[in-house]
Subunit: 240 residues, 2 copies
């Protein structure tokens, strides 16, 4: 959290050969997924933050975050693929279920989550229009599915008695839930309808990896506002 | 291959409890992926073909193919998630690499393949327009990446000395490559530019699972033409 996002004109940081390196951005929820997995597994890694609105030339061949540079210099992209890779390569604190059926069900839930929330988040970032163009499923329908799912599972987390892959993979968007207020109160979450999810959110906030990567609602809102004005302020947390 | 595609008004087939059941469609490339995995692993299963332009009421809660009903009655959808599930649950003839990095790289290649070819195929099916609206990458660029990849790998297949998950997951679209001719000769594959891939295609055609699920170019073209006329002929191969 200590270094600025590197932009066009910056120099490429020296090679981290032999150490994992994550190319990231402090406000990218997909990158946050990977930070969470690395932190939970207590894997030592190097971070390079990238300014996504002014991508450095030396980064253009990769071009997006999150991107993981492995110890062997291979580059992996796509947060879910990186997360699965880390879970297989570093078996400590296993995040996926060992039961193939449960794992497949969780991956399906995640796909549905991606479709609903991810799209909403993009709408939020890319324009000031309202939710009239909203995708097939509304946030509420999506959350209802997750509320029911939590009710049907034993334990406080999707992973059971502790957070698992599904918990951490959906977390970054849940951390940002309050930015929905930006659209007006009618879009704010009806918290009493999602009792179990709100309880889950409270438990997740106690998690060490979640805390390590946490930014509060005001910070997220300031970022979204700066983004929508065309000058995303990736480094705002350094100035505070 | 012996039964008709069930449509609205059909009766639900009796439960297959205790046996895997695949809800499929003879012309869906994603469903073909799952048939391939089941056949390679010599898993016994029941097939129910669904008429996708007239989905039976009893199937509406699932609503899409491929859908796998497990021995416990759980339903899984999404071809890649089903394929990964089967590869973990039935470890005979393992399709994914045991090396997490290689597996992640193959999954990334598959993502790129999906973006290029899958979109093209949709364009082909859903309208008679030409490739002026084509996605960022052209088929040729996509194939070039795979050609280079095959050149860099040892063995004739992406999986090495025998076909692996990546080989089977891209196969259904490669089987259908000749339907590109429908757009005119300028879209037909320039086979001499993709020497290694053409060689690969020849080897894949010798594979037993590929043969079991193979339909020739004329059959695929007849299907695409019927689909584009608004009356997809899913059962044409029964009439021959």
């Amino acid at each position: 959290m200590s270094s600025r996002h590197l932009a066009k004109g910056s120099r490429a940081p020296p090679s981290a050969k032999g150490k994992l390196r994550l190319y990231s951005n402090r406000f990218c929820p997909c990158a946050q997924r990977v930070h969470l997995v690395l932190d939970i597994k207590k894997i030592s890694y190097d971070v390079v933050y990238i300014n996504l609105s002014s991508i450095p030339d030396w980064f253009s061949s990769i071009g997006k975050v999150p991107a993981l540079e492995t110890e062997t210099g291979d580059i992996l992209t796509e947060s879910l693929i990186i997360a699965d890779y880390l879970d297989e390569k570093y078996p400590q604190h296993k995040l996926h279920s060992n039961d193939p059926l449960q794992k497949a069900k969780d991956r399906l839930l995640l796909e549905r989550f991606n479709k609903v929330i991810h799209t909403m988040y993009k709408v939020l970032l890319t324009s000031a229009r309202s939710f009239t163009d909203e995708p097939e499923e509304t946030i509420s329908e999506g959350l209802e599915m997750f509320e029911n799912e939590l009710n049907n599972r034993s334990g406080s987390y999707f992973g059971g008695s502790k957070p698992g892959m599904l918990d951490y993979m959906i977390w970054p968007w849940c951390e940002r839930a309050d930015i929905l207020k930006l659209f007006g109160n009618q879009y704010a979450l009806k918290k009493d309808e999602f009792k179990k999810l709100m309880e889950w959110r409270g438990f997740m906030l106690l998690d060490e990896a979640v805390q390590n990567n946490f930014l509060d609602a005001d910070t997220h809102i300031r970022y979204v506002q700066s983004y929508r004005c065309g000058i995303p302020d990736y480094d705002q947390i350094l100035a505070h």
